[in-house]
């Protein structure tokens, strides 16, 4: 809902790392160096002098850092303004290039809007889209993809990690199915994956993969589309796509526009640091998530959304029975920064279409919260979250006259 947003002081505990992450101090420092440098401000496309050479070297170094982190070759990385642009370039670009071969795309109901909206746009232009429905845990069976493929299918677009419930799809199996099909390229939205679970572009069998910097403690406003250069000697060649914007021919003429060197450098370093995240840190975040879940479980009338076993460690999505969604969010807002199960995209909040696709009722979808844990999250933060929700639920259930019998089974 539109309203004036007033800063809260003191700031609440930040548990929304799936929405965005704070800039890693080393990344911020390196970006500031580039911005204030007397030698690094050149246009990376300026091949006629050394200022351009210096900037181009920074860009290429960052390209190598990102590529190394996701198991790709540097030449496969095309910079974009973020994962949304990368998704648009992948979906609209492939659709445009292969429009004479076929006009059918396969995706899922639980994809991010940055995938669903380009697909809707293609539907308006005459393409057919098949929207797969996941099971109640949010998982797709790869055989669903196989069943949906047609002779005129040109693209399958699926996310690696779901941004709302954190489940990890079996992309490698889907990649194998697409390869056998022959003419269906596989695009993977991996915006939520890097630094949270293993991501290896080549091993996933993907042809295109979208990346974002700000989900990985990098800057907002920069991302990348990985475009496979494999298959030169294979049976089906390499994926091709049409550009969506034109200008200076940058990024192999796929994404025109002067590169923001400091942004690109920031993304490169953020990805390099993400690759060094230890298993100890991953286990720490997973333990914090389970501490949070156990604390919430004791409140009764709580349901975990999405698979608990096939999910990334930093996301926990929970539905709360017996409370109205807007009141729940209003009650905890002074203490906690989390995402709600409803998308406040217009005058009225809409229940999460992802949770609805998993079979949750409209009411439960509205009274759901997504907790996104991160590198800065501590046990104390988790305990504040539990205490805040304990108080809010107790009060609101009393006001509503709701009696919650006890813990309900997980979805």
């Amino acid at each position: 809902m539109s309203a004036t947003r007033t800063p809260v002081s003191p700031m609440p505990v930040y548990l929304d790392h799936a929405a965005t992450t704070p800039l890693e101090p080393r990344v911020a420092a390196r970006m500031a160096e580039v911005l204030s440098s007397e030698t690094e401000y050149g246009n990376p496309a300026s091949a006629s002098h050394s200022y351009g050479d210096v900037a181009a070297a920074l860009v290429e170094s960052a390209r190598a850092q990102v590529a190394a982190t996701v198991g790709a070759a540097a030449r496969e990385i095309v910079w974009t303004s973020g994962a949304t642009e990368a998704n648009n370039l992948a979906i609209l670009g492939v659709a445009q290039y292969y429009r004479e071969r076929g006009r059918h795309i396969v995706t899922a109901r639980t994809e991010h809007k940055a995938v669903l909206d380009p697909c809707r746009e293609l539907e308006r232009r005459g393409w057919e889209i098949t929207y797969l429905v996941p099971d109640r845990e949010g998982l797709l069976d790869p055989t669903q993809v196989a069943a949906a493929l047609r002779a005129d299918t040109v693209l399958v677009s699926l996310m690696h990690v779901n941004n709302e419930v954190g489940v990890v799809q079996n992309i490698a199996a889907v990649g194998a199915i697409c390869a056998r099909h022959g003419s269906a390229w596989l695009h993977v939205d991996a915006a939520q994956s890097v630094g949270k679970c293993p991501v290896h572009f080549a091993s996933l069998g993907a042809d295109l993969m979208s990346l974002s910097a700000h989900k990985v403690y990098g800057p907002k406003g920069v991302g990348a589309l990985v475009i496979s250069q494999r298959g030169e000697s294979g049976g089906r060649g390499r994926v091709q796509l049409s550009a969506l914007q034109f200008g200076g021919g940058q990024e192999r003429a796929l994404r025109a526009g002067t590169l923001a060197t400091h942004q690109v450098v920031g993304m490169g370093l953020a990805f390099e640091l993400a690759a060094k995240i230890s298993s100890v840190e991953t286990a720490r975040v997973a333990q914090l998530r389970e501490r949070l879940w156990r604390g919430l479980l004791s409140l009764g009338g709580v349901l975990r959304n999405g698979s608990a076993t096939r999910s990334v460690p930093h996301i926990l999505n929970v539905s709360f029975e017996g409370v109205e969604g807007e009141s729940l969010l209003a009650a905890i807002r002074p203490h906690l920064a989390v995402s709600t199960g409803s998308a406040c995209t217009s005058a009225m909040a809409e229940p999460s279409y992802v949770l609805r696709a998993l079979g949750r009722s409209e009411r439960l979808s509205e009274s759901s919260l997504r907790f996104g844990l991160g590198r800065t999250t501590t046990e104390a933060d988790v305990d504040i979250a539990i205490a805040s929700l304990t108080h809010a639920l107790s009060r609101l259930r009393k006001v509503a006259g709701t009696r919650v019998a006890g813990t309900l089974p997980a979805a």
Partner: protein, 129 residues
Amino acid sequence: MNYNDLTRNYFESAANAGELEGPGVFRGAAGNRDQGTWVQFDLRINGGAVSEAKFLAFACPHTIAVAAWLTERAVGGQVTPVLPESVPALRDRFAVPVEKMGRLLIIEDAWLAAVLPAIDYREGTHIVK
């Protein structure tokens, strides 16, 4: 969403949340939890006046705040077949967005469901109506 101070104060305190029992209590409810808004009022009527009022609400902060405020405002007043304050006046007082006007009407329905039987109720030889 932002709320004005009055809404936030009454939402956070939710004074008078609960139910009443015993003689002279009239109860009215409206709305549906499954549709996101449900409100119940309990009014204790003595000699044609409201001596005590409670509410329950499965609803948004605006609805909870208005219901809480009405129960406070009503005590000591005579039972009449209208809200203690009109829906437009409540909308302005609590800065209720236009898209939530339907929720104020649910509050009005719940209030009337409680007070209309009270007005019809005959206590001894005194007729409240």
